[in-house]
Symmetry: D2
């Protein structure tokens, strides 16, 4: 009973079917019909004009998006526990040619306008200090928290006031939208670019970079090729994304994962380190308690010395979630 991560879950049947259906010749790279359809599909989904590029990883999505907003001599404000800071092997330094990450604080890896101002206001407006050019937030956050529409709006307003770009790392964007019960447009708010993740949500190897500013996308196309991310058989990536949008599979999958997390969270009480607002749970428990759970067959990561992380996925079985809930309740 696997709660280690959603990042290696199996692939949704609809995704497989779409990939197989793409197995006939079409134009290489992103010249195929499936890739060409993405702009319209996401524009419809978000209710505003989008330009969309597929890439194979969330790291590539995040870094390509930011590279189009931030010059090499600039900086990105992000949370000190943001994935781009902590878990991307320095990819932002590579893609942004040495631009800096400026680290802000905030509960549950959430940023606020105040937290951002605390970082950027002390920066002297001179050439000795690296100036911010963009903000990056994660929806849902690295601790499974979801930004409400007004929270994103407040950050977007600050970004506009300061002339900063706004990027959203949506590796688990579907889970956030599902939790919020809002449209994708509401969950994304007024960002300039969104890394819309599908891999953790039933896809195999395709994420979408959704640009709400076409000029950024025009740069990103060159950068994607230059980064070796323009696959020649791109139709198999586009097929995955189209399949996830068809019949809102992305939303159904996210809801399923969230529901499993909710069921488990319900028994955690004060053990919960962060409100359960997506599909990740951070649960206080002793080493002995973790040992107990592992002996019952539950797989998960330790989170420091006194906690565990449980992640549900699109394919978490109901009985497994129930079993874990019972097991935690019995600790």
């Amino acid at each position: 009973m696997q709660f280690l991560s959603d990042n290696a879950a199996s692939v949704h049947p609809a995704v497989w079917d779409a990939m197989r259906a793409a197995d006939s010749p079409d134009a290489p790279y992103d010249g195929d019909a499936l890739s060409a359809a993405l702009d319209d599909r996401f524009s419809a989904l978000f209710g505003r004009e989008c330009a969309v590029l597929w890439v194979a990883t969330g790291t590539a999505a995040n870094c390509l998006a930011l590279a189009c907003m931030v010059p090499p001599h600039g900086a990105v404000v992000c949370h000190e526990e943001a994935h781009i800071e902590v878990d991307e092997g320095g990819a932002p330094g590579f893609y942004l040619h040495g631009a800096k990450l400026l680290l802000a604080l905030g509960d549950g890896a959430k940023l606020t306008p105040d937290a951002i101002r605390a970082v950027i206001d002390p920066i002297r407006d001179d050439v000795h200090q690296v100036q911010p050019h963009a903000i990056s937030i994660t929806q849902a956050t690295e601790y499974g928290r979801s930004y409400r529409a007004d929270e994103v709006a407040a950050i977007a307003t600050l970004a506009r006031e300061r002339g900063l770009g706004l990027h959203m790392d949506g590796a688990r964007f579907g889970n956030a939208a599902a939790f919020l019960g809002s449209t994708p447009g509401e969950a994304a708010g007024d960002v300039d670019a969104l890394s819309f993740g599908f891999i953790k949500n039933g896809g195999m190897s395709a994420e979408a970079i959704v640009f709400f500013d076409g000029a950024l996308a025009d740069v990103a196309r060159y950068r994607r090729k230059r980064a070796g991310h323009l696959q020649s058989k791109g139709r198999y990536l586009a097929a995955q994304i189209n399949a996830m949008l068809d019949n809102a599979v992305w939303l159904a999958n996210a809801r399923h994962a969230n529901a499993a997390a909710s069921e488990i969270a319900a028994v955690c009480g004060a053990r919960l380190m962060h409100p359960a607002e997506a599909n990740e749970l951070f649960v206080r428990c002793t080493p002995a308690e973790r040992e107990t759970l592992r002996k019952q067959g539950f797989g998960f990561y330790d989170w420091g010395a006194d906690a565990a992380r449980f992640v549900t996925a699109w394919n978490t079985r109901d009985e497994d979630a129930s079993a874990l809930a019972r097991a935690i309740a019995s600790l």
Copy 2:
């Protein structure tokens, strides 16, 4: 009847099967059993110790391999028509942090020790000029030529003498090995790293970087992650490569493509711009002749004003190859 390229051909059934078989949970990234098997499989194939990383594109494979051999202030010698120079959107400049490509000449995009020396010997050994640190050759070349074992050996000897790394872009390595009738080890010779291409040969989205020097691979693992090329569901890439190695599918596929090219080449006579030594044909023909061929349903690229490029693939139908041969013969 498609002869445009092999780069968007459909995926071989054995690859599909292997991907489906990988659709159960395993460790993320390259921690899965299929990824872990690659070192041994390629070591067996090449008869010497290898360390192998999968990546999604040939561009990423080439540039990651070179980035481990060449410091940012160095240079790579390659043919002036090498893929890394002409068709990778500046990816070497990105991955190698501004290192230079030094362009050598040679018929059929083949390098020779003399051609390489003509480029590197005039470089003053001082800090004002960029010093070479590696050589990159393409097997089979961009014009479908294959290096014989002694030709690679001569270049490898020069590389050793000058302290240069040696990389082989093997986007169509299978086709070269098939043409040469030699083992992979003979076709690769004494290179330090080989980009072993599978995508043009029946794969979907997985190329192998084969390092014959483990120290380079140790660096490459960090660089791959940093470039956003470490996919979380890496087992689907490893599955593709394993499937290509099983039963030597890679060799059968390459032979098939080569045979189709051979059949067509046989009728081309003096039209052939380059000997047919893999699966690409560059055929002199007038615009009117190309028009004639296109009217008969053949798809291919113009190659300048007076020639056409035909590429066969693992799935080129025998009757299509025969039809093209007849059509060219009738021009």
Copy 3:
């Protein structure tokens, strides 16, 4: 009798005086009065609005200027023998983050619109090929040739048509302007940025980057600091440049060097490989002839097997120039 290069000549007395005069406290970096004066002084000199930054080397000047015009995924068109390609140790690759140099041909290291079009017209407008973003020309060229106003204008027109920036490497800009007998504004034409060299012309360690587009300068200020080129005692650099502008020392020095070159060129006849249009002479002569000259005490560089390069400077003594002229005439 030194004709090796102008690049290590001694420093002009007026420059020394100005540096000494700057030896009282003022604001650090470029906050001092002398640095602040540069925009106005160059604006007056060129007859149009300029923003000017000092840097310590021509390489830094060229590369900072270009870095403000060309994104990392772009390219610069330059002559295949341009200093930025041949003699800057790969600095453009560093400063431009891996952008490419596209090499054009032309007699005497001069570019023409046709030569530039021959390079850029074949570039497919797709993401697989690196797109040009700027042109760089050298005034006077690496072979001592000077662009006439209409030649620069023709290149500038092409640049505008294609949306390319235009940079002029003016390491010997003074010599070109002196030869042309034109104003600096005419000698520079409609470029976006000029590296105006003073070091070879009597300065010690200060070149000016003259931006005719203020937006580029605003970026360059950050890039200069980031490159470690913002000296804290910048007033000593600004003093050098101001001293060179005072009483048109730059022009007098350049005229002196040119006159010495002219006197020597006058006896060279068919030996001259390139018309003498600045202060560099490339003179055909056999190894034996070079030996003869060296025995007479003349210092110079061999230029390949069959020629020599003689460079005059602001402080070349009249008698030395005459002596060299006589010696060459007597060969």
Copy 4:
């Protein structure tokens, strides 16, 4: 009465004299006799083999040194208030091609082995996290603190244990050595490279990068040229450094500045935020007190809301130091 900074102080007469004495032709770049002398001079000074390069700024010195120790995918551990982090305009990101700075804590901007371990021990040894490759410490620190020999030794031991390079930013190295009363070799300890600053200590535009590992210097020479920091009239920089070493001008100047700081510190008592161990004083005082001091003609920077920074220099007049001491005592 100027206590703003030592970074724009006038140039020491011995430096002027040496520069004037260098005003005769010699080989360009670093081929001159003065540049060639540096290795031996510093080897004698430090009592161990050194290879020394001049550069024009401390930023260039720091970043070139680090670039030779740290690959683009690596990281440098430094204090969160280190100059390279706070005041170099992102130069480390540029020179190190996007390598990361890992920020450690410590009183007075001093690092300790514990503080360093607190940063590096939690880094997982996997490709998702950026691995440390070097440590950089500042002697004297950004708060005017000097590392004792055993403190440097402890950090050097940790560096060796972990396979990390060790760099010392010695923008005020002379002041530290003077304070410690130790030899330069003792003040530097077992570092791999030292940025030995002269500009703040009476020089004009020359810092020395002292490499105690010749292999690093061999790389640095290429990187210096590539960064546009190889000046053609390098002898004027070498002259400055030689002049500072002659008769231990560097030490006399540092002692003078330290003595002035000491005199002022003596009256500061509890106002002192950090022990005075070099030539910088951070003094608690209210806005009203600062106003009082400014009215008396003292120039200095505010340090946050409740303090002021006073920096003495090689040329601080005794009477000015005394006057400031009296003024502070009278607050």
